[in-house]
Structures are given as C-alpha cells and as structure tokens.
C-alpha cells in the first residue's frame, strides 16, 4: 500500500521539485538525484545542504500524494466512508477513556445531579486506589486466575479451530462439509446460560453421568463444583461453544490457496501430509500469527459472563478473574474508583502485551496487526 502511494505520488503533477523535474520512485531516489548532481562552482556547501533538504521535503510530499488539501480532495470518498466508523470509535472507545480519571479520585456519582459532573466535584486521592489494589490479595488471586486461564486457553483452545479447519478442508464432498460446518457453528449461538446448564445436566453432581454411575452401584462425581478443575472446565466449555465459529477465518484463508499448488506438489510426488505441511500450513501462518497477536492483546480478557455464571459454584478463589473482579467491586459494591483503577491496570498491561506480541510477529517475519 505504501509503495503504491509512493509510485502514484511520484507521477503526481503536484510533485514538482526545485529542479523542475518530478523524481520517480521513492523519496530516497529523489534525494539521490540532488546528492549526485555535479557540484556547481557558484553554490556553497551550505546552500547545497539547504537544496538537499528542500528536495527531500518535496520528494516526501510527492511520495505522499501532494499537499494535504490535494490528498483530501483525492481521497474524499474514502474519508467520507470512514467518518462514521471514526465517530463511533471516538464516541464509544476514546471519549470513555477519559472516564478513567476516576481511578485517581474517590468518585461519588451522587455528589452532583449528574454522574458526569460529579467527576469534577469528587475529591482527588492520587494513587490511593492503586495502593489499595496492590495490597488486596483478592486482586492478585484474580490476576493469577486470569493468567492461568489465558495460558490454558492458548494451549488448549487456540489450536482447535486450526485443526478443525484442516479437517473440514480435507473433506471433499461439499454436502458433508456444509453439514459438519453447520453443526460446528451452532453452539456459538447458544447463550452461556444454556451452555452451562447443559454442562450441569451432564457433568453436575445430579447430572446424567453421575446418576447413571450411581444407579450401577458406583460413586457419583461432580465436575461443576470442583475448584481444582474449574479452569479446564471453563476451557472445555469455550472449545465446545466457540471452536467451530473460530474455524471460519481459517477456512477463508484456506480458500485463497490456489489448487494449482496442490496439483503441482502432487505431481512432484508429495503425499497428503507433505501437501499439508508445505502448502496448507504456510497459507495459514499469517492468519495464525495475526490471531495470536490479537489473542495476546486480549490475554487479560478470558471471559466474563461464562465465569460470572459459575463463580458461585466454585467460589471466587478459583473463578475470580480481572473482569469479574472489576464488575464485583464496581457494579455490585459501587466502589467505582477502585474498579476503575483495576480496569486501568488491565488496559495498560493489555496494551503492553499486544505491542510486545506484534513486535515478536515482526521478528518472525509476519505482518502482525500493523506495520510501522
């Protein structure tokens, strides 16, 4: 994209230089033309430096497509199309960020007639909320639970859609493929209430399996109230509900692989596994890297409703994660400033994680979420 813009910029009529010619190609080429020019006897070194700088500026402008006004005129359709989305992001994502200021206050929404105006009347307490937070063992328990759940989900959940996509992709008959896809997608549309109820009916202490065992003279069991396996249970529920849905993006990536590659490799004697290893997986690699980076950015978001619904069954010691901790303190206990401090920490750490993950993706030769 950047290259294309540069090329267009290079041929733009607005891209004239002090030399009167429009340098083609990149800005560095433009700069080179000045550097390589034969020294003029009447021109001092200082003037040549000024000329070079002017030339570089002009080249950059040309590369970017001309003046801001010109570019705005050229891209006005795209800008107009983007505007509503930018407004939405501003209103719902960026302006609310300002609300984080209450993390440095003892915010009382009822101190004024309006909850927003109350921000200006609430007393400032500096980092007191953060101090409270760091001294609260329940917060650190929530951090630990969150990270463990993230790790488990990364190991046990993330690969499943990839494997399912490979499996579905290997099915040749379209009807079988469509039906299996539909079956896999379906649980995604169930609410968490329903999913957990189904799990309770199957794996609960009075569930089908435990009761059948009892009827046959064995001990029953109760997976739903065991804090020790709760994190595996949550991951299993997530796999059952959403792994099929996660397949979509990988199938889309696989659909873009040219059949010629498979045919050529088959002609070269590659078997099924070889074709998967050398054709299919390389096609998926950028998507996997992208999703992995996104997932790392969400590392501290491991589920809210799903966990909240089961929190009481195993206790907060096993089930409290950062999101439920923020909800419990902010919404239930109305300790808004304290919850805002916890949320702010979560946001900052998540930002750091996504930047780090993106850097790693670049080092591995992948594009990641964005490029510099």
């Amino acid at each position: 994209m950047a290259h294309g813009t540069t090329s267009r910029g290079g041929t733009s009529p607005q891209g004239s230089t002090p030399h009167g010619s429009t340098p083609r190609g990149t800005a560095s080429r433009g700069a080179t033309s000045v550097t390589d020019a034969p020294p003029d006897a009447g021109v001092s070194e200082a003037e040549r430096r000024t000329l070079r700088k002017a030339s570089r500026r002009a080249s950059r402008k040309a590369a970017n497509g001309g003046t801001f006004k010109a570019r705005l005129k050229r891209d006005r359709t795209l800008v107009l199309m983007t505007l509503p989305a930018v407004l939405l992001v501003l209103v719902f994502n960026y302006i609310p960020i300002l609300g984080n200021v209450v993390a440095f206050q003892e915010y009382d929404p009822y101190i004024s007639d309006n909850g927003f105006v109350a921000i200006f009347h609430s007393p400032w307490v500096g980092f007191e909320q953060f101090s409270r937070l760091f001294e609260d063992s329940a917060f650190w328990d929530a951090v630990q639970n969150t990270l463990v759940l993230f790790g488990l989900q990364l190991l046990l959940f993330f690969p499943v859609p990839v494997l399912l996509a490979l499996l579905i992709n290997s099915v040749i008959r379209p009807r079988v493929r469509a039906v299996s896809q539909a079956i896999l997608y379906l649980p995604h549309f169930f609410s968490w209430v329903l999913v957990i109820t189904v799990f309770q009916q199957i794996f609960g202490g009075a569930g089908i399996i435990a009761q059948t065992l009892r009827e046959h003279g064995h001990e029953g069991f109760d997976l739903m109230t065991d804090p020790g396996i709760f994190k595996f249970l949550v991951t299993a529920e997530g796999v059952w509900k959403d792994a099929g849905w996660g397949v979509i993006v990988f199938l889309a990536a696989l659909a873009s692989v040219s059949p010629d590659l498979y045919e050529a490799s088959a002609m070269d004697g590659a078997g099924r596994w070889r074709r998967m290893w050398h054709v299919t997986l390389p096609a998926l690699r950028p998507v996997i890297a992208l999703l992995l980076v996104l997932r790392v950015g969400d590392a501290l978001t491991v589920g809210f409703e799903q966990i909240l619904l089961q929190r009481d069954a195993v206790g907060p010691g096993a089930a409290e994660v950062l999101d439920t901790y923020v909800w419990w303190n902010g919404v239930r206990n109305q300790d808004f400033s304290y919850a805002a401090a916890a949320g702010l920490i979560k946001g900052v750490v998540s930002l750091g994680l996504v930047l780090a993950a993106n850097k790693i993706a670049h080092l591995m030769g992948e594009q990641g979420v964005y490029k510099k």
Binding site: A206, Q211, T225, G315
Partner: protein
Amino acid sequence: MTPNTSASGPSRRSFLASTAVATAAVAGGMPLLAACGGSDGGKKEGTTSGKDAKKILPTFVAQNVVTPDIASKNGSSLGFTGKLSLADLKTSVSGKLGKGSTIKIMSPFWGTPPKGDNPYYEAMNAKIGAKVVWQNQDGNTYDEKLGAVLASSDMPDVVVIPGWNMGGKIPSAIISKMADLGPYLSGDKVKEYPNLAAVPTDAWQRSIFGGKLRGLPMPSSYVANIVPYYRKDIFDKKGYELPTSAAEFLALAKEITNARAKVWACDDMKWTAFNSFGVLSGSEKSLGWNSVGGKLVYRVETDEYLEALEWTRKLYAAGVVHPDAKAQNQGDSSLRFASGEVLFYNNDISHWWAKTAEQAAQNKDFRIAGMDIFGHDGGDPTLWAGAPASIFAFVNKKASKAVIQDVLAAANVTAAPYGTEEYMLTNYGVEGTHYTLKDGTPTKNDKGNQEVLNAFVMLASPASTIAHPDLPEVAKAQVEWQQRMGAFTKKSSFYGLQIIEPARYTNLSNDFEQLEDDIVRGRKKISDMQQAVSDWKSQGGDKLRDWYGKLLDDSGSAQG
C-alpha cells in the same frame, strides 16, 4: 396462576431470600420511638430517632374499614382466612385525589412486564386520577442498573428501591436526589391520605433517610420470613418425625438421603442454621449489631455464627444436600422440592402459598408445611427481628409539587387494606376482565396473570397482611407459624432504624457472604472465617463498632 393476595406482596418479598437474609423474627412489639433517644438527623450518615423522628413521622390513624380474622400477635402479619365477598367490599378512597399528572416510575419487576396501556393500568390510573407510566426493570439484576440510573441527570419521577439493593452508595444517592415527603405527610398532614396514615409507624421510621422522610414504605412482618419447608405428604407416608435439634436434623437427613434413588434430604440450609443457632440478622448491616453486656458485637464475631456455619458444613460433608444446591445458582430449589428430589428447603414465607397453588393441579398429593425453627440444642430458638419495611418508593426531588401530590394519591390507593375495592383493583384488576369469582373465590384469568403483576403494589402497601381466599388454610398456617416463631423473637440494638454507615465502611463486610458459602461447601475452613473477622476488625470493624457505639449512646436501643 392464582393471585397472591398478601398485601405485602410475597412475590417481592421472596426476593429477600436471594440476598443475605438469614434471620428475622418477632418480639414484644414495644413502639420503637419510646426507646429511642436523640439523633443526628439531617446528616448524610447516622440515623434519626427519638424527638427528631417524632417531628417527621406521620400520625398513625388506624384504618378500621375491615377487621382481620387473625389479629397481629408477636409481630405477625394480619390474617384473613375467610371467603371474600365482592358485594361487601368497602371503599377506602372516596373520589380521585390525583390531579392528572403523568408519573414515570422505575421499579423492579419479576416476570414479563405487560404492555403500557393495558386495561389494568388504565383502571388504576382512572382510580388514582393520574397517569402512571411504568419503567420496569428485571428485579433479579436491578442493583446492576440502579446505580447508573440514580447517577444520571434523567432520573424518573419515582424510583422503587428494595432494602436489599441499598448497598454501596445508594443510601447517599437517596439523600442527595430524593424529595422530602415530610411537608406532605408529617404529623397530621398524612390524614389527607387515610390509607397511608394507617401504615405502621415502624415502617415510616425506616423511611427516614438523612433526617427527612423520603420513602413510601412496604411494611413487612419482622418475624423470620425464611421458613424451613418440608414435604408433609412424604413425611406422613414414610413416617418421618420432624427434628427438634441440629443433631436430630442431621441424623434424619442421613436417613432420608438416597442419592441412588435421586433423593437428598435438603437443599442449602444456611439460613435455617443461622436462625436455629441464634445468629444476629444478616438482612441489613445495622441489624447485625447488638449490645451484649454493654459491648457491641457484630454477627460475624459471635460463636453462634461459626457454629451455624460448621453445622451447615457438616450437612454438605455428609452428602445430604442436593448437588445442584452445591452449585448454587443452578436450577430452582423449589422445583427440586416439588419434584421430591429434596424433602427440606428454606425459602421466603410466600412459597407456602405459591407452591401449594402451583402443585394443586400437577400433584394432588403434594403437601408443603413449615417446620418450626428448633433451637440447635433442642431448646427454644433465639430469633432476631428483621426490618419492618423492606421496599421503598422514592420521589425525585426535581419532581414538581403536583407530581409529588399525585404520587401520594396513587400510594393512597395502593396502600388500601385487604377487603376494600382499592385493594381488589390493585391486586386482582378489574372483575370480569382480569378475574372472576369461582365458588366465591376471586380467580385470575390469563389476562389477569399477564397484566396484574407486581407493578402498582410496589408504590406503597398496607400493614403486612396474609390473605389467600383460594387457600385460606394456607393463610392460617402462615400466620400461626409467624406467631409461634414471633414468641421467640428479639429485637437487636438498632432494630427499626434506618442507619446509614459512613462511606468508608460501606464495603467492609461485602465478602462475608461469599466466604460463608465457601466454608459450608468445604472450599474454605472455619479458620479462614476467623482470619477474615480478624482482618475485618483491623481494617475498620473496630472503628465501625465505635461509630455504632456512639450512635447507640445518642439514639438509645430498641431493646428498651
């Protein structure tokens, strides 16, 4: 579904059960104000009692248009156990008091709210003389929305707030944002609204927030509202005898439980354990404090509290508790009870009628009864009084005088006592449209069940009443149970006072309920609770004790 005729709306009170309600009960019934001293009325924390309260409280004028079949005794509700004659209904509101305002009311609602302009709402509005527009919210998640609504600049004219949703900063919001109703109701001014004048003074006392009368109360009996229910039909069939001590209960529970046959003795019995072991009430923070030997103690500090948890833990450990109860929010305990999977469960007293009516068509053998709460050692129990009002309607302080007067006109209709036309309209709707008489009993039809639900009854209610014209024997059993339990009920030091703790202490006790559940389910130990109590003391509990101590010195005790 047959209508619920209890004036205080058991369907709403039943949701007390979903909160930390542990105990409640009755005792002497000495008027609170006689026992109270001064106060720091008008402040954002503390309470208002004694002379300060007397200046604010409405004059009590008994409403004598109907006479209950069972009078209140030991703090019980009024009982109506006879057939209802529509021809003999009295009139408690003559003419329309309303002046035609439009009133927006936000209220918790359990069920599916009906459409706005339905015949029931229209009939009520016509009776009141104002247009009430309901903004109903899911009662189960009401507390999640309440804080945001109260913080907004676009608050409705009236907001209904249950006592169990008054955590965190909500009391502060009530003081900041709700109107003072004193100029309309204090002293003899209330006589303009005769049904509100008949609301018990204890309930009004609880409606004082920050030194002003701000709430329209829903009175309730202060007797324990959590009943340990048992399946009487199965007990009779199997020959089980009701236990009279904690040890007997555990032994019987083991005898009953047969997991292979999918029968467990009980559901979670924590609330009954608190009552049986004499633990101070957990329904409201102030009720958990009591003066013992001149020193204030909080419920979590008492031996009774730990003993009750330990006993409940034994029930879980013995495997006599239904596994779905262990998972807590899985399924409905009353359904497990109705299906015979558990033979004991505890819940709000309204379930007595509700399960009987529900099962009448499905299982003719089904019999539910309330077990008398036993003292854990086999003696008499010590029960602690709950709050004499549980739900309040508050008027936005920005509301005009005309709106406030119309709200009071509406409340005067909804607070009409059982046996009046206004009561029938409020609780049953329009005869022929929402209910018909069957064998002399008003019975709601489908339209009645859809439209006449818990809306108008949230505004204000008469003195706590139990009346089931369809099942009078249930009403009799309920009131008699309250009276028996009321005989063992005491009032703790701050009974009846609306106390607002300083903001710095409001979150101090938040985690105890969760810890209780962890302990009884075997996820944590009793020693963890002892540690939590120790932390509570050092993190502010002891300072809170001093604060309550000063309050007690200023206001006097309800114990007299």
